[in-house]
């Protein structure tokens, strides 16, 4: 089975500056691939090269086996995309905006346009001018124009930018449905792990134009996974000794918190023990996934947008 998209040693230089330094990875059919990195890491540049908006300095990108460099028209036919914000013509109705893009690809009927409008739930507002739409509605218009020609690859650059939590959740549901039911490969970029973690199968982390790592996203932490627990209690020393002597766990005191690394299944047992010992517990914080640790470790302070 060929990959939906394959990046082969992709480089991009602007002037003397190397912006992308040899990217190699591929995206499988029906997979949601997260493309994560701080601002300025080269995410948008890479996405723009994937859709032919920017020229590839060296290397190539294959879409369903077709080179975007040499077979642009054939390759791009399989791709639907939103690059950055979903900008539309504000002075035209939603319908005319979609009609405009539909005319540019052969074989899209008015029926198909209506179908897509139903899919994104814009039936009511479709004959109003796009200038009057809210950001959420424009985001849906963006998805509608990307889906018109039933692409097998969907590329969404920062799709959650500027959306409220409800909007992010909605997008997440769309994307999972597309991947699972229609076997569409989806590439989502973001600079915030928390926003795409829940929708991706794999996440590639990019920094300074290089792919640092590609990680599988596990559904949830299993019982045996180790987690880091931070305890806010009234008597740090006593808790530390309970952990070390009675539960035989490594523990240390960091910033007035007792910190320990333990299998997840131990956590309830630990809490019960502390209660029995008559310790006042203000907070039990379980550190999030290994991925987030890794992300912070790799990216550091840069994550703040």
């Amino acid at each position: 089975m060929t990959a939906s998209m394959e990046l082969q040693d992709v480089h991009k230089s602007i002037g003397n500056k190397q912006i992308i330094k040899g990217l190699n990875f591929s995206i499988k059919r029906g997979e949601v691939f997260g493309f994560l990195g701080p601002n300025g890491a080269g995410k948008t540049t890479t996405i723009r090269m994937m859709v032919g908006l920017m020229k590839i300095t060296s290397g190539d990108i294959k879409i369903n086996g077709l080179s975007i460099k040499h077979n642009f028209k054939e390759a791009i036919q399989h791709v639907g995309a939103i690059v950055e914000n979903p900008e539309m013509y504000p002075f035209m109705s939603g319908w005319n905006n979609l009609k405009h893009y539909a005319r540019m690809i052969p074989g899209i009927t008015d029926e198909r346009i209506k179908e897509v409008i139903r899919l994104v739930g814009l039936e009511k507002a479709i004959h109003e001018k796009v200038g009057k739409y809210s950001l959420g509605m424009r985001q849906r218009m963006g998805i509608a124009q990307a889906l018109l020609h039933k692409p097998s690859i969907l590329i969404l650059d920062e799709p959650t930018n500027g959306l409220d939590p409800a909007g992010i959740r909605e997008i997440r549901t769309y994307i999972r449905n597309l991947a699972e039911q229609e076997q569409v490969s989806v590439i989502v970029s973001s600079h915030l792990l928390s926003e795409i973690e829940l929708m991706c199968d794999r996440i590639g982390i990019i920094k300074n134009g290089e792919l640092i790592t590609v990680e599988e996203v596990q559904d949830t932490n299993t019982e045996n996974d180790h987690v880091t627990v931070k305890l806010d209690v009234d008597d740090n020393e006593k808790v530390k000794s309970i952990l070390q002597d009675q539960l035989e766990l490594e523990a240390k005191i960091v910033q007035d918190r007792v910190v320990a690394n333990l299998p997840k299944r131990i956590v309830p047992q630990l809490v019960r023990k502390l209660v029995e010992e008559d310790i006042a517990i203000y907070e039990v914080a379980v550190e999030r996934s290994r991925l987030e640790d890794k992300f912070f470790e790799l990216i550091g302070e840069n994550t703040i947008a």
Binding site: I14, T44, T45, R48, V51, G52, L53, M54, K55, F72, K73, E74, I76, Q77, V79, A81, I82, V83, E84, N85, E87, M88, Y89, P90, F91, M92, N96, K99, H100, Y101, R103, M104, I105, P106, Q145
Partner: protein, 315 residues
């Protein structure tokens, strides 16, 4: 071909979805109406019409003109006198002012159409950048070359539509104010080889056509600047500035031989028709057309090269 027509439809839809475009038509119609009103009120048209003794009237007019001619040294009425004599000799009664003549005079308004076409040409590429829609436009299975040329052809379509609008509205407003002398009256005027009688329809067609040359050249220039700098303000400013100062520039450098290769020395093809004379010695119609074609191709090549090669980067 089919999808080129689709692209044209798209461009026309975008153009006519905006009030700015319609306001251009409204402005043109208002100017035409005001012009007709001024002619109607201030020029006493009845006095200028001739009665059954029109031959005597013309003869007397010529005598008056001759007297003026003797007094004034430089500014003569030779051609008016010759035209009047032609009327008398050939027994052709001068026709009163009518919708056709009004339409012919309005050929000069193509200057305003040039202005509007420059505005449209300057915006048609740069607006896509400004709105951010260029990204969604260029990720379709259509080559950039095709998109660029559909936009250029759209600009030409706009100017032709506007020219047709000018012609039809002139004729209608003219007919309402001044009446109309049949469907194809003739006009006596000064030609290259003395006085001649021409079909007014043909004359209108020639005048509108010659003005199109200047219009197309300036629109193509604005289109190029807009593609190069992605700024419509700059393209509009530069094109309009050159349109109005072009002739003065030629005036300054006319003494040099290379001046005849400047675009503006060649855009006014009227210099080769009727009583006109070439801006500089040694220029012919063929020469001007060659120069114009070279500039035209150059402007389009520059647009094409920048548009197809450029990376669409963030703002």
């Amino acid at each position: 071909m089919l999808n080129f027509i689709s692209l044209l439809k798209n461009e026309q839809m975008k153009l006519y979805s905006r009030f700015a475009t319609w306001s251009m038509y409204i402005i043109l119609a208002v100017i035409l109406f005001a012009g007709a009103l001024i002619v109607f009120v201030f020029d006493n048209i009845d006095e200028q019409t001739y009665n059954d003794n029109w031959k005597e009237q013309l003869a007397q007019e010529n005598e008056e003109l001759l007297e003026v001619n003797e007094e004034v040294e430089y500014f003569g009425f030779d051609s008016e006198i010759a035209i009047n004599e032609y009327h008398i000799e050939n027994d052709v009664k001068p026709l009163p002012y009518d919708a056709w003549q009004f339409t012919l005079e309005n050929a000069g308004l193509s200057m305003i159409i040039s202005l509007f076409t420059i505005i449209v040409a300057a915006g048609i590429i740069s607006n896509e950048y400004r709105w951010g829609t260029i990204k969604l436009l260029l990720i379709r299975p259509i080559s950039r070359t095709k998109i660029l040329f559909s936009k250029f052809v759209s600009v030409l379509l706009f100017s032709i539509t506007m020219l047709a609008f000018l012609f039809i509205i002139s004729l209608v407003i003219g007919a309402i104010f001044f009446g109309i002398n049949g469907w194809n009256p003739s006009l006596v005027q000064m030609g290259t080889d003395g006085v001649e009688e021409v079909s007014i329809f043909a004359e209108i067609f020639t005048q509108y056509g010659l003005n199109m040359v200047n219009l197309v050249m300036m629109a193509t220039f604005a289109f190029m600047i807009s593609t190069l700098f992605r700024s419509s303000a700059m393209a509009i400013g530069l094109a309009i500035f050159l349109m109005f100062t072009g002739n003065s520039i030629i005036g300054f450098v006319a003494e040099y031989d290379w001046a005849k290769y400047i675009l503006f020395a060649n855009t006014n093809l009227n210099q080769y028709f009727g009583s006109g004379s070439p801006v500089m010695d040694g220029m012919t119609l063929g020469f001007s057309i060659t120069v114009l074609v070279v500039y035209f191709v150059l402007f389009l090549l520059v647009s094409w090269f920048t548009f197809t090669k450029r990376d669409i980067a963030g703002n």
